[in-house]
């Protein structure tokens, strides 16, 4: 492989990193010139982040060479990376909340003399104008939206004179409109001669923004292709290693009876902030109701209030399935005219058949006990069953074995702690357990976050199976493309309010994106 003698370009040769017996990166070659955008594509665990961490000085490679501007370099620390003009924008922002944008941007810079706010603000404005950022240097971070914070992170890196920018899943937290804005900025930077690496899972974004795509699979470098000469299907095949159908089914269920009705549901958190404000909707059996919204718009509170984990005001009514349907009779009988769920304990709500497969941000935080094995996790909600003081581990053990077979869970055995499993397998364990309790309402949040394509499609299939059985599925998601293909209707939350409930077959991504930032799609900003 050639490593061109060029200012600002980066080139990797045979870069290898091992963790114990696992080879996270196996002889990776990569080349990126000035004024180019390279998309780094790969499933979870394929080694994208490891590779970028080596370039930005967080990990030290075991083997291989890094060239910057045609010169071989050694990067031992993030500071070395900065000195070489490499800047990384992490998925989780590293900003001081009580500081302004300008203060955060200069934080840690070894500049001598007086702290000259005006000069800094001036330089920040210059950078903003040059690339088309929208930033107020004097605004405090805690007043900023997610996309504004991201802008600060990017400007921070540019302020330090970075020529090579690495963005780790920058669009994961953005609305479609914000993503468009970000891409416009990236194109400006490209025109200015910056070299940009963007890590993302979303194929359409890769096709939209990049010049070249480098694909990793299981730590190995598969190849680099010109974006103009490829398409989503081809890229997926490179990523997965075999052909995959990218269509998500949306079957029609026979019964669509009312199951869960929220009326004027309001949740106030410990700090006194209204996380949910007068939310009303009806979820039907045999239907997947998607819940969209910018992160922190009340999705978590909504699911938790229904599951009895949050106190709420208003009303959440539960209607039992039709007595003749398959789902009837499996759970404790309830009022046919609507049983009030608010005020009940989580255990009571579970007995009614409302199941929450909640996957919070840290994945293992709530639904599963990370340090326990599959068997002990299977009985998390059923351990009280049976008489006597002792637990019966036989049924959960059988269930664990069955799930390993049916869902193709990769694990050394039923007695391996779930923390050792990969993200996709953890998710299958969790969703599998919830489905095994034959729920009548199944709530999931971000069920495919961080999963590879195969695992994601398994989860979609499981959700569809539940829907066809007559279960009411509530799905909080972040990938609008998936929500639009999989769901029957989409409820859009904005600042804790119901912004709109739309038919997923009729609506467009742009429309949903607008509802995400403006209640009812009105053009005024919602605080």
């Amino acid at each position: 492989m050639m490593c061109v003698e060029q200012e600002g370009a980066i080139c990797l040769k045979g870069l290898t990193k091992r963790f114990g017996s696992v080879v996270a990166n196996d002889k990776i070659d990569l080349e990126l010139g000035r004024g180019e955008i390279l998309a780094l594509l790969g499933e979870n665990g394929s080694g994208k982040t490891t590779l970028m961490n080596m370039i930005s000085g967080i990990y030290f490679p075991d083997e291989g060479q890094i060239f910057v501007g045609g010169r071989e370099v050694t990067i031992r620390s993030p500071k070395d990376a900065f000195d070489l003009g490499i800047g990384m924008i992490h998925q989780h922002y590293k900003l001081v909340d009580v500081f302004t944008a300008a203060e955060n941007i200069v934080l840690g810079l070894p500049e001598k003399g007086k702290f000259d706010k005006r000069a800094i603000a001036q330089k920040v404005r210059q950078i903003s104008e040059r690339y088309g950022f929208d930033i107020d240097p004097d605004k405090k971070i805690y007043d900023m939206s997610v996309s504004e914070k991201q802008t600060v992170e990017i400007v921070k890196v540019l302020y330090r004179g970075a020529d090579i920018l690495i963005l780790d899943e920058p669009t994961a937290v953005l609305t479609p409109q914000e993503t468009d804005k970000l891409f416009a900025v990236l194109r400006n930077m490209k025109a200015d001669g910056k070299a940009i690496v963007i890590i993302t899972h979303k194929l359409h974004e890769v096709l939209d923004i990049s010049d070249q795509v480098a694909v990793l699979r299981k730590g190995k470098y598969i190849g680099t292709v010109n974006t103009a000469e490829t398409d989503a299907q081809k890229l997926t095949e490179m990523m997965v290693g075999h052909a995959v159908s990218l269509n998500i089914d949306r079957p029609e269920a026979r019964y669509r009876d009312p199951r869960l009705e929220a009326r004027h549901l309001t949740v106030v958190n410990k700090e006194g902030v209204r996380m949910l404000d007068d939310v009303s909707f009806l979820a039907r059996g045999g239907e997947i109701l998607g819940i969209a919204g910018v992160a922190g718009s009340g999705q978590k509170e909504l699911l938790e209030a229904i599951a009895g984990l949050q106190k709420g005001a208003g009303s959440v009514l539960y209607y039992p399935p039709h007595p003749n349907s398959d789902l009837a009779g499996q759970h404790v009988p309830v009022d046919r005219d609507g049983e009030e769920l608010l005020g009940k304990t989580p255990a009571q709500i579970q007995k009614i058949g409302v199941s929450l497969a909640f996957v919070p941000e840290d994945r293992l935080g709530m639904g599963l006990v990370a340090g326990m094995d599959m068997v002990d996790n299977m009985m998390l909600k059923t351990y009280v069953q049976g008489n006597g003081p002792f637990v019966d581990r036989k049924p959960p053990k059988e269930l664990a074995r069955r799930l390993i077979d049916e869902l193709e869970i990769v694990t050394p055995g039923v007695s391996t702690p779930v923390r050792r499993l990969s993200g996709g397998n953890v998710q299958k364990v969790l969703v599998g357990r919830e489905i095994a309790s034959s729920p009548t309402v199944l709530m999931t949040a971000y069920p495919v976050r961080g999963l590879d394509i195969n695992s994601s499609y398994t989860i979609y299939r499981l959700l569809n199976e539940q829907k066809m059985k007559g279960v009411a599925v509530l799905l909080v998601g972040e990938d609008l493309d998936v929500l639009l293909e999989l769901c029957d209707r989409i409820l859009v939350l904005c600042g804790g309010k119901v912004s709109a409930i739309v038919d997923a077959r009729e609506t467009s991504k742009e429309e949903v994106g607008l509802y995400m930032t403006h209640v009812g799609g009105r053009e005024e900003e919602v605080k």
Binding site: T345, P346, M366, V391
Partner: protein
């Protein structure tokens, strides 16, 4: 790649290690700890460390009377470690076992002093044991209630509770329970029917703690309550999600823990001392934390660690009389042992890579 730019030492997380290798590391750690302890002994009194260790073993296990004393040290240590195990499993940092032992001892002593004339031995001992458990359990329930209700910090709370009950015993000693004639600041010796009988030369507490060891193992591993404790310890959010009443579990577990500690208090007053005094727990509530932690909360492991510490403690007494090495040396060796054993867990978790040795390490 330029060798001299590589960092000298790097850490890498290990893959799961075989259990044989893990135990080899732990045994090596104990051996190293004994070696370091030997150096300290040699420096402290210019003694031959081998002779010193031989003296410790001989002093603790050489004679029948010595063995009995060692077992007497062993009983409260294991009992208390078993008491705090469920709390620690729940990540409720109960460092108030000292006070719970004392509270149990006070309640048991009440019956020993004022009911001995009215009840024959077996019912009296049963009443005393029960009183000890209730006393210890209630004493432990106080911080648990505040934690469950208002989220107070259990570490400080349980610690402070120790001083309250120990001060209370001091008052009893010099006040209402002081023996006749007044002025000794001591409580009278128990009547014979309030003392635990001896089995094989030591009061029967050793049988009780061994039975307790098996029961605690079964409780933590196979019962629903044990499962709840483990879930709460891992994540309270998960426990709540699973429909568990976290507050109730905290209070129940703490009461159980306090009850076992209170039972140890009963064993101490009725079996070991035959009276009550303010130092009845004698620091065992803190040493037991070491025991429970080193054994990684496994009851059988706790028995082994308790035995080692009991031998060290008794052996150090002999070491002082025979070789003039200060008794505090046993504390020093215990500390070194703790340091090495906790330290070796680091090497079980991580691998250290020295510059220039990457390939060799990776090949392993």
């Amino acid at each position: 790649m330029n060798e001299k730019h590589t960092p000298l030492l790097r850490l890498a997380k290990r893959e799961a290690m075989s259990s044989g290798k893990r135990w080899a590391i732990r045994i090596a750690a104990i051996a190293l700890a004994l070696l370091a302890g030997g150096i300290v002994m040699a420096l402290a009194g210019n003694n031959n460390p081998f002779a010193a260790y031989a003296t410790i073993l001989d002093g603790a296990l050489g004679k029948k009377t010595a063995v009995r004393q060692t077992v007497k040290n062993f009983i409260p240590l294991l009992g208390t470690a078993l008491a705090i195990a469920p709390c620690f499993k729940m990540k409720f940092w109960n460092i108030g076992a000292e006070g719970q032992i004392t509270a149990g001892a006070v309640c048991a002593t009440y019956f020993a002093l004022f009911w001995a004339g009215r009840l024959p031995q077996v019912p009296l001992l049963l009443v005393m044991a029960l009183a000890g458990m209730v006393g210890g359990g209630l004493w432990a329930l106080v911080p648990a209630f505040f934690k469950a209700r208002w989220g107070t910090n259990e570490t400080l709370f349980t610690l402070m509770m120790n001083y309250i009950i120990i001060g209370f015993v001091k008052w009893l000693q010099g006040g209402p329970w002081e023996k006749q004639p007044k002025g000794s600041q001591q409580i009278a010796q128990f009547a014979e029917n309030a003392c635990l009988p001896k089995v094989a030369g030591v009061y029967c507490g050793w049988i009780i703690v061994l039975v307790l060891m098996v029961l605690m193992f079964l409780y933590m591993k196979y019962t629903k309550q044990g499962y709840e404790i483990a879930v709460v310890g891992e994540s309270e959010a998960t426990a709540r999600y699973a429909g568990m009443n976290v507050g109730r579990i905290i209070m129940r577990t703490m009461s159980l823990s306090g009850a076992v500690a209170g039972l140890v208090g009963f064993l101490l007053v009725s079996g070991a001392n035959n009276t009550l005094y303010d130092g009845v727990a004698g620091g065992v509530g803190f040493t037991a934390i070491t025991v429970a932690w080193l054994a990684q909360l496994n009851p059988f492991g706790m028995a082994a660690i308790s035995a080692i510490l009991a031998v060290l403690e008794k052996g150090a007494d002999t070491l002082q009389t025979r070789m003039g090495v200060p008794v505090a040396i046993s504390d020093v060796i215990t500390g070194i042992l703790l340091f090495f054993m906790l330290g070796c867990e680091f090497f079980i978790q991580y691998r250290v890579i020295v510059r220039g040795h990457e390939e060799k390490e990776a090949a392993k």
